[in-house]
């Protein structure tokens, strides 16, 4: 709910807010109201949950990773979001928001995308709903992620190149916002992670809460008492989805950021570790910026973590010491992803490989019980893995 105790007037502690132009204010008021109503409405929840089950394939398994556990020296279970329709948790939010947009009478969906995962998820939800969809994507990303561009087109979406700035995710987000400013009444903007102005961060998190809820149910069935929840941090949606129901419990929350080439190389995406408070895409959060307050480009081998901001809820949780953040380098992530493939028969998304890599290098006593959000499958990253594999063989 966007009236969660954590929220005060659109802020999560010191972070969050709505740093938006007046032209969008009505949209945000409308959206917050509509989401709160929908989320409190049994019928809406039922429709959402049925879609999660029948279209998305939920619940996803909670699987003991036998060989991975052995390698890490601690018991680790995977929450298998890689098995969700379109290959990652992203679809939960896309479906949720498209349902909401439909309920609000919106006739056009827009979204931003970096590597294309959220774009594909949104285009998928729109195809299902029969709603026209426009996805903004950095012109550079479009070149790098051609197959996902084509996939969105097959799904009936229009893909528009963002040709400004670094021509990547950050700029695609700007373009989507601009389009929304220009088309405020009929359009809904489906943000792809727990970022942006309130109520997006909490709303996106709520649409992913099902990850944590299923995990709790499975733990109860299996009589597991987890001590650690681990997830990678891009914008923070898969992490929050897992963490949300556990937030008031005594359990360690670990968010693994993309260290990029290395934390001190300047080529990093470790926003909490290396960033500072700032305002980006309408919210106050931790951002990578220079002394002038210009947002810097993020760098990660993983396109889904390659974002110079982070959801404001994470910024808050980290600031108050509730969230432990860790960073993992490109090389560590690649290695971990390939090791997981060989040991568990699961090719993880490069984003996920960051979380995996941390469990490999963390110091465990051995009596912990770790639940790791296996946020997505790595089919999209096959080429990157292969090229890296080739380099090392």
């Amino acid at each position: 709910m966007t009236n969660h105790p954590i929220i005060k007037r659109g802020y999560y502690g010191d972070f969050g807010g709505q740093f938006i132009p007046e032209m969008l204010r009505r949209n945000f008021e409308e959206l917050e109201k509509a989401f709160n109503e929908a989320w409190a409405d049994e019928a809406f929840r039922k429709e959402y949950l049925e879609l999660m089950r029948d279209f998305v394939g939920r619940p996803t398994p909670l699987q003991k990773a036998e060989r991975w556990s052995e390698r890490c020296g601690v018991e680790i279970w995977f929450k298998r979001e890689d098995l969700a329709h379109t290959g990652a948790h992203k679809i939960n939010n896309a479906v949720g928001q498209v349902l909401l947009a439909h309920r609000m009478g919106k006739s056009h969906i827009i979204a931003e995308t970096g590597a294309g995962q959220h774009g594909v998820a949104t285009a998928t939800a729109c195809a299902w709903a029969g709603l026209p969809c426009t996805v903004f994507m950095g012109a550079d990303d479009m070149k790098r992620q051609k197959p996902n561009v084509e996939r969105m087109r097959l799904l009936g979406a229009e893909v528009r190149a963002a040709k400004t700035g670094s021509m990547t995710l950050k700029d695609a987000t700007n373009e989507a916002m601009r389009f929304w400013i220009a088309n405020p009444t009929d359009t809904h903007y489906v943000i792809g992670s727990a970022v942006g102005p309130h109520p997006y961060p909490m709303m996106v998190a709520e649409f992913h809460r099902i990850i944590g809820e299923e995990t709790m149910t499975a733990c109860a069935r299996l009589d597991l008492k987890p001590t650690h929840l681990v997830a990678c941090l891009g914008g923070g949606s898969n992490a929050l989805g897992l963490f949300l129901p556990y937030i008031d419990q005594e359990i360690a929350l670990v968010g693994v950021e993309a260290g990029g080439e290395s934390l001190d190389s300047g080529r990093t995406a470790a926003t909490i570790e290396k960033g500072s408070p700032g305002i980006l895409h309408g919210a106050k959060t931790m951002v990578l910026q220079d002394g002038e307050g210009q947002i810097q480009e993020a760098h990660s081998v993983s396109a889904g973590l390659d974002y110079p901001g982070i959801g404001p809820l994470h910024a808050h949780l980290a600031a108050v010491g509730r969230l432990q953040t860790e960073a993992v380098s490109d090389t560590e992530a690649l290695k971990a992803g390939m090791l997981c493939t060989r040991l568990e028969g699961i090719l993880p998304a490069l984003e996920t490989s960051h979380a995996l890599a941390w469990t490999l290098k963390a110091e465990w006593k051995g009596d912990e019980l770790v639940l790791l959000n296996l946020s997505g499958r790595g089919d999209k990253d096959l080429e990157t893995y292969i090229n890296d594999h080739g380099r090392h063989v």
């Binding site: 740093f19 132009p21 032209m23 009505r26 700035g165 700032g278």
Partner: protein, 271 residues
Amino acid sequence: MITDDMSDIFKRLMHADDVNLSVFLTAGYPNMTACGHLIELLARHPAVSFVELGMPFSDPLADGPTIQRASEIALKQGTRLDDVLSLSKQFRSICDKPLMLMGYCNPVYRRGVERFVKEARAAGASGLILPDLPYESYSRDFAEALGQEGLSMSFFVSPTSTKEGIERAFETSTAFVYGVANVGLTGDIPSMDRGDFFRGLQNHRARCPIVAGFGIATPEDVNGLTGLVDGAIVGSAFLRALEPKNESMLDTTSIVQRAEDFLEPFNLNLK
């Protein structure tokens, strides 16, 4: 609500019969040298009543393509906040027309609000326009500092604004209310009936002048708003006029010449 301090500066605007022309210029565009000449031109130009000086930002999400690109070019050339301030100083050394610094929150917060406001005042700026600044942040972080330094602040109303939103803009703005003359972004093609929108704002006008912006490109656009607004800002159209289309258009003289050519027809507005 216009403050006492600002009443002096903007009094002229409110009581003019014609629409006052304001020009928007991105600091550091197309380069610092040319920009220095341009700010002087605007300071001296009789058709120009006041100026918006854009503070370039990496992620200007409320701007259309032209202003985005101008920001990008300015940043690529290394334009810093200090450069913005020195352009303001240069402007103020020539004229006493109002000059608003227009930009996004983050660079300002990064500088420190108090420090920035002091520096802006020292540089002769009249006020700030920060389209992504929420009212709460304004009250908490800006109002006092601005008041102390006698700087003003403008907020926006747009065709999608709620009644409360309009009320709040006129209540809080201390320079003028920025009326979005277009559903869309700066520089976009008009897609609404401007007259209707501004007619609806007239009963607020007594409290605070209205300046129209977004999609205003020609003298006709400006004149079309006569009686409805106190000023009109031309931004993207001006920047587009400066764009060098070939090699020979790169030198400063040629850039300034194009600016003059662009402003020429607006002279007709002058009585």
